[in-house]
């Protein structure tokens, strides 16, 4: 009995010492294909993703840790949002709400679950600005960041890429971390501080408990828990 209690205490201590947002690498891009653009299946048990350059389609069964080729490319980003009266015109990057123009040159738009807000990006990915704007036009947030994804509870997860020029002069995403913005909050909080991982393309699981992302350095896929972060 005492042994059991001691083991339980140790386990609790270990759990307590594990920082929130501790990553779990669900796919090793150095030992398999370079994967990007993860999307959750509706049941939250699979990640659909694409290969390097967006080519090819894969499905990663998280329970079985099994990667298979998929017939079709991953679906559009799941944003947990509903468009409502929001409309997006990709050509000029126009976001319209109720017939009024909210933004131009916007990309990666994502409507909040209640349809009251839209998050989008401006500029180049290498130096992108993330904007959260209410449908009445009021801008609530404007920070460096890109590729926003809403949680079912109305929080926001996004990445903050940092570009650098490679030895051949090319611009590459040298680093990136994930940030979360809790509902009603004004200041995003870092979810990750992992200089060795360039977390990009966050995708929130259907239950809002996890976020998957692609490491653009290695093509690995990572999953972070959102419990305790309350985004």
């Amino acid at each position: 009995m005492r042994t059991t209690i001691a083991v339980m205490a140790l386990l609790m201590l270990a759990c307590a010492c594990q920082p929130e947002g501790t990553p779990v690498r669900v796919h090793d891009g150095t030992a398999g294909p370079f994967l990007v653009s993860p999307r959750w299946s509706a049941d939250g048990r699979r990640l659909e993703c694409a290969g390097l350059g967006g080519a090819g389609a894969y499905a990663l069964d998280l329970d079985a840790a099994r990667l298979t080729r998929a017939e079709t490319a991953p679906a559009e980003r799941s944003q947990h949002g509903r468009a409502g009266e929001l409309r997006y015109e990709a050509y000029r990057g126009r976001i319209l709400a109720g017939g009024g123009l909210l933004a131009e040159d916007a990309w990666a738009p994502a409507a909040s679950p209640d349809g009251s807000r839209v998050a989008y990006c401006l500029g180049h990915l290498s130096a992108a600005t993330l904007v959260v704007q209410r449908t009445d036009g009021a801008v609530e947030l404007r920070v460096p960041g890109a590729q926003p994804a809403w949680t079912p509870g109305g929080g926001l997860v996004f990445c903050r890429p940092e570009a650098a020029r490679g030895p051949d002069g090319r611009i590459v995403i040298a680093a990136s971390d994930l940030f979360v913005l809790a509902p009603g909050a004004r200041e995003p909080q870092p979810l990750t501080r992992t200089p060795e991982i360039a977390e990009m393309q966050p995708a929130v699981s259907p239950d809002g408990a996890r976020v998957a992302c692609s490491d653009w350095r290695t093509g690995s896929l990572w999953v972070y828990g959102l419990e305790g972060v309350r985004p």
């Binding site: 150095t30 131009e104 180049h124």
Partner: protein, 416 residues
């Protein structure tokens, strides 16, 4: 303003979108000042507002130093490029022109723009102009698959970088046998069959590419100063360790750049790991036999009182009898004890005796004689046990005493 060349009326006819056909030197906030042997003859919509084809032509002039021979509707840009032998393809590349066919995403006339940076997910940063506004040159990021008309690459610049590698030879031929855990070095000789030069500064390396890693480093870098020009070869040597379990194993390695872009032939190492030997012939291999030099020692062997772990269970001489002046006394006392106090006293007596190893145990003698009476009731040769097992013996004695006490109190079954 510099003089314009070409017929602007023709430009108006060829322009991609309806608008005010007018010679301009500025469009979307950009000056047509680059030198490429001709002036931009595309129109700029609404005077100076912008036009996608004007911008694409402008960037090709500035960055490629090339005056495109056409300025059609955007939707025909890829066709014009193909017909003139420009390199085209489906992959975004830094410093290329993207073409989007007419669609909801790209207007009824199609769309073109300049690719600034291509990313691993197939998306790319671009600069673009629109006919009809918003005016100016715009920084965008376009998703993978956006450029339905593909990409037009620089025809005069260096050919697009092409990394490639071909297998030449190897050491450790397929099917080489190794003992479990044996170390070896695998060498692959590969030839640079691309048009790039492999240097450590350009981040070329040799990387693990799947299956069995053989305990090898995931990446092997080129040494400083190394350079493998197109056509040259390089010997990649990777230290490896054979797995511990018997079987066939294969692992793959491949050329890589940046740690993210693998290319060339996928090379492998394929070995056979032999079973562990059974040197003493006792039927148990060295991975499970705790002494493969002694045929009497193996898992499940009878444990003898010889100071050796005969049955490979991590314990020595368990079950052997105690010495007469130590455990036997305690055991006898316990056995004879009819009351709880007696039993406790016996057990208490056994503790100090068991915990103090006798001289023969301390000096390393086997104490084999101690085990001569393994079946004697209450026998437990704590005297010859190592200190680490003394506590177990004490606990066993306590349990035995308790059991006997219960037995003594239990009603005896009637006979007959």
């Amino acid at each position: 303003m510099k003089p314009r060349a070409g017929m602007l009326g023709l430009a108006a006819l060829l322009a991609c979108l309806p608008g005010t056909a007018r010679a301009v030197y500025e469009c979307g906030g950009e000056q047509d000042t680059c030198q490429c042997g001709a002036d931009n003859f595309c129109i700029c919509c609404d005077g100076t507002c912008g036009n996608c084809v004007w911008h694409a032509w402008h960037m090709a002039c500035c960055e490629w130093g090339r005056a495109l021979e056409w300025c059609t509707d955007a939707q025909y840009f890829d066709d014009q490029a193909d017909s003139r032998g420009y390199p085209t393809g489906a992959d975004p590349a830094d410093g290329s022109i993207f073409v989007c066919e007419p669609s909801a995403a790209c207007s009824d006339w199609g769309h073109v723009g300049w690719v600034v940076t291509a990313y691993p997910d197939g998306s790319f940063d671009s600069t673009e102009q629109y006919c009809g506004g918003p005016c100016g040159t715009h920084a965008r990021n376009r998703p993978a698959g956006f450029a339905t008309g593909g990409f037009i690459y620089d025809p005069d610049g260096p050919p697009p970088e092409r990394d490639d590698a071909a297998f030449v030879s190897e050491s450790v031929p397929d099917g080489t046998h190794f003992s479990p855990g044996a170390g070896f070095v695998k060498r692959w000789t590969v030839r640079n069959t691309g048009n790039t030069t492999w240097t450590p500064g350009a981040s070329y390396l040799w990387t693990f590419d799947g299956e069995e890693p053989f305990g090898a480093p995931e990446q092997t870098l080129l040494p400083q100063g190394a350079s493998v020009a197109p056509g040259g070869t390089w010997d990649w040597e990777v230290p490896m360790t054979a797995p511990l379990a018997e079987g066939s194993y294969v692992g793959y390695w491949r050329m890589d750049r940046y740690g993210t872009h693998r290319f060339g032939d996928r090379c492998w190492v394929e070995i056979e790991v032999d079973p562990y030997p059974d040197a003493d012939g006792d039927g148990y291999r060295a991975d499970v036999d705790c002494d493969d030099g002694d045929p009497d020692v193996f898992p499940g062997a009878p444990e003898r009182c010889n100071g050796i772990d005969d049955d490979c269970d991590g314990q020595t001489d368990e079950g052997c009898a105690v010495e007469p002046d130590a455990g036997t006394d305690a055991g006898t006392a316990d056995a004879g004890g009819s009351d709880a106090g007696g039993s406790d006293a016996g057990a208490a007596d056994a503790g100090p005796d068991a915990g103090a190893p006798p001289a023969d145990a301390a000096d390393g003698s086997s104490g084999a004689d101690d085990g001569a009476e393994p079946d004697e009731p209450g026998g437990c040769s704590c005297a010859s046990a190592p200190a680490s097992t003394s506590l177990l013996c004490l606990l066993a004695l306590l349990a035995l005493a308790h059991a006997r006490e219960r037995s003594a109190r239990a009603p005896r079954p009637e006979r007959g």
